[in-house]
């Protein structure tokens, strides 16, 4: 048995590799969007693909998000498997009508006769010093729309595995890429066949006994850091990375909270109407008799995304997470 040395790779590189492997494996996979061809995307995720697969399969489209997604619908109707890039979270909004009125509904509308296997890649979230309209956490809009799968990776390996799964899915998948993790590195072997992760399964990133941090995407590394820092306070925190908001892995999340008895949901998206409310409700419904304290949320403030020089005050950080953990009614145990 030969051992291949694991080399550090970035999340962006893993995503590129996933696109390339998917395009090689399936000639119906087409990549389309703004600047995805010659330039290789503003985050270089499609780097080299136009050269390798040609402009017919990696297409620089006109600058119109509704048109990009709307034409992708037609392409999927004819049997192609489009992978659409929305350049930034907040630039995806013009495509919402196509997404909500057609992408999410076509399978249902046609009783399964016309599924739309479209992957919509959306770089999302803050923490990169972006000016207005470049840092939104828009997942609440997507998860409120039945018919879409909503997936977000937090590790280099998941970026590959989940994107392959998204492209292979016969359902539309909104694939949220945490911008500030694009350059995060991990030991990863790009030469070996990579595992394709099934969509809808959460994973425990760190086991612990005291409380569960339920999180996803860009907040996963923050929660891992918080969990390490918490050991100084005597707390042994478990971190659950959801990976997929729709479908939601109730089983894994509830199992963790039943074990620890306490939970904090952490995300960048605003708290009011954000995913955390739904997650807290689901956890409470399933784990009420195991809970030692109300499920708390650490979320972005309910404000328009702030300018870059102020964003550190907005984003959930280690201290705010630990403060929330501290409010989990520990005194009741004594």
């Amino acid at each position: 048995m030969t051992t291949v040395a694991l080399k550090p790779a970035t999340m962006a590189q893993a995503l590129t590799r996933a696109l390339r492997d998917a395009m090689t494996a399936d000639p119906t996979v087409h990549v389309m969007g703004e600047d995805v061809g010659t330039l290789g995307g503003v985050f270089r995720v499609t780097d080299g693909l136009a050269k390798e697969f040609g402009e017919d399969r990696v297409t620089d489209t006109p600058l119109a998000e509704a048109g990009i997604l709307g034409t992708a619908v037609g392409m999927a109707m004819y049997g192609l498997r489009p992978v659409v890039e929305m350049q930034f979270d907040a630039f995806a909004y013009p495509a919402f009508e196509q997404l909500i009125s057609h992408v999410a509904r076509m399978r249902n509308r046609t009783r399964g006769a016309m599924p739309l296997p479209i992957t919509i890649r959306v770089p999302y979230g803050g923490g990169i010093g972006g000016v207005e309209h470049h840092s939104d956490s828009s997942e609440a809009y997507y998860i409120a729309t039945p018919g879409l799968h909503v997936v977000t990776p937090a590790t280099v390996a998941d970026a590959y595995g989940l994107l392959r799964a998204a492209i292979a899915s016969d359902d539309p998948v909104v694939f949220l890429e945490p911008k500030r993790l694009y350059w995060s590195k991990d030991s990863w072997n790009p030469e070996e066949p990579q595992s394709v992760e099934p969509i809808g399964r959460a994973v425990v990133r760190r086991t612990g006994r005291s409380a569960t941090l339920i999180t996803y995407g860009p907040s996963v590394p923050v929660c891992m850091e918080a969990a390490e820092a918490a050991t100084a306070e005597g707390w042994d925190l478990e971190v659950v990375d959801l990976r997929s908001l729709v479908p939601f892995d109730d089983e894994k999340v509830a199992a963790s909270v039943r074990r620890t008895g306490r939970a904090v949901v952490v995300h960048e998206s605003g708290g009011f109407g954000g995913p955390g409310g739904e997650i807290a409700a689901r956890v409470t419904e399933r784990c009420f008799h195991h809970l030692e304290a109300p499920v708390l949320r650490v979320a972005g403030f309910d404000i328009p995304y702030p300018p870059p020089m102020l964003e550190r005050h907005h984003l959930p950080g280690v201290d705010r997470i630990l403060d929330a953990v501290g409010r989990l009614q520990w005194e009741a145990e004594n």
Binding site: P62, L69, G70, M75, H102, G112, A113, D171, G200
Partner: protein, 377 residues
């Protein structure tokens, strides 16, 4: 030196490399809507085609009146009638080959029926027992689209995909005058022209977007003129002249099939009925206007041409009417039967595999239905 001349001195002159990208002249529509019936061009029209169009128009009108009647009997939730627009509906269906695709809006069930779709299936959306009552692949008719103009980019994408696959397929998309104000109209036409996609856009300018007349919708010289801005030809045609619409669309489809790219066709017509059975057209237009258009009725225009040229006799006219009555009787009979509903269908096609959350909700509904059933016994 005047102020304007001074200002002019600051205008940058175009760099030497600049030149117009496309010669706009060949893209411009005719000054008047193109007509065939009642003109010299009518002599060139194929008599068999004219008779076919006539039979379809008569059937189409009967379909419209029958569907409207079904709303009054509570058998349809709503019906947006295409009465007066049958020439456009029928011609759009007839110009396509089997392998081509039609992209209708909610007012275009007749075009779908003329393409061969079962009328009951075409009306499923408007009866309300499901959204799309047919498999779009069977007759290559996309689902009837309700959000205006949003089906146009689908037509472009499908036509583009067909071309990428090397298939000889054209997409024809239907939209109304109101729909041309939507952003998706603009984006679809732009993508189609940039990609040179084999697609034909037919705008049925029926004068009103529910209650809003065209002058509040656009300041363009005509809707067909909008084509020029995208770099595609615009054609203006009398939408009540079935022979003219058929000819213009046939040319546009052939142009697209030959690799010439998209065409925008504006058919000038009139919505004789209200927006739907739930609308009151007397609030926004006068009867005299409607009567003017009744005098330019698509069936009457074609019937006169056929009769005057001896291409149809009383028996031929009666045969068309009898066929239409038979269709209406069959439609009436089948629509008077209650559709079979299974509430569990609600969960069947949201995803390829229901999510765990949907499985829970499915179980909840199943339990409710069981309780209802037990309560009934």
């Amino acid at each position: 030196m005047t102020v304007m001349e001074q200002r002019g001195a600051y205008h940058p002159t175009p760099p030497p490399a600049w030149q117009p990208r496309t010669d706009p002249a060949p893209l411009l529509p005719d000054e008047r809507p193109y007509r065939v019936l009642g003109t010299d061009s009518a002599a060139d029209a194929d008599p068999a085609l004219l008779r076919r169009l006539y039979a379809e128009l008569v059937r189409g009108r009967r379909y419209n009146t029958q569907a409207t009647a079904l709303t009054k009997q509570g058998r349809l939730a709503v019906y947006p009638s295409s009465t007066g627009q049958e020439a456009c509906e029928v011609a759009a269906a007839l110009v396509l080959e089997e392998r081509d695709w039609l992209f209708p809006s909610y007012r275009d069930t007749l075009a779908a029926v003329a393409r061969g779709l079962d009328p009951v299936q075409a009306l499923t959306l408007l009866r309300g027992d499901w959204h799309t009552g047919y498999d779009p692949h069977e007759h290559r008719v996309a689902p009837l689209c309700t959000p205006l103009a949003t089906q146009l980019p689908h037509a472009v994408g499908l036509a583009h995909a067909a071309r990428l696959k090397g298939d000889d397929v054209v997409a024809l998309a239907l939209v109304g005058d109101g729909g041309t104000s939507e952003g998706d109209f603009h984006e679809a036409l732009n993508f189609a022209a940039v990609w040179q996609a084999p697609v034909v856009f037919l705008v049925q300018n029926n004068g009103f977007a529910i209650s809003v007349p065209l002058e509040k919708q656009t300041a363009a010289p005509s809707l067909a003129h909008k084509a020029v801005g995208y770099g595609m030809p615009g054609r203006l045609v009398d939408g009540n002249d079935a022979a003219a619409v058929h000819q213009v669309l046939t040319e546009a489809v052939a142009h697209a099939r030959a690799g010439g790219g998209p065409t925008l066709v504006e058919a000038v017509t009139y919505r004789i009925d209200a927006h739907t059975n739930a609308d009151d057209a007397t609030r926004y237009r006068v009867d005299a206007e409607v009567e003017t258009w009744r005098a330019h009725d698509p069936i009457a225009l074609l019937e006169r041409e056929l009769t005057e040229r001896g291409l149809i006799d009383e028996a031929g006219i009666q045969a068309a009417r009898d066929a239409a009555e038979a269709m209406a009787a069959d439609l009436r009979e089948r629509m008077n039967q209650d559709p079979v509903l299974d509430p569990m269908d609600l969960f069947a096609h949201v995803y390829a595999e229901p999510t765990p959350q949907l499985r829970e909700q499915e179980a909840l509904l199943r339990a409710e239905l069981t309780a209802e059933e037990e309560g009934a016994h």
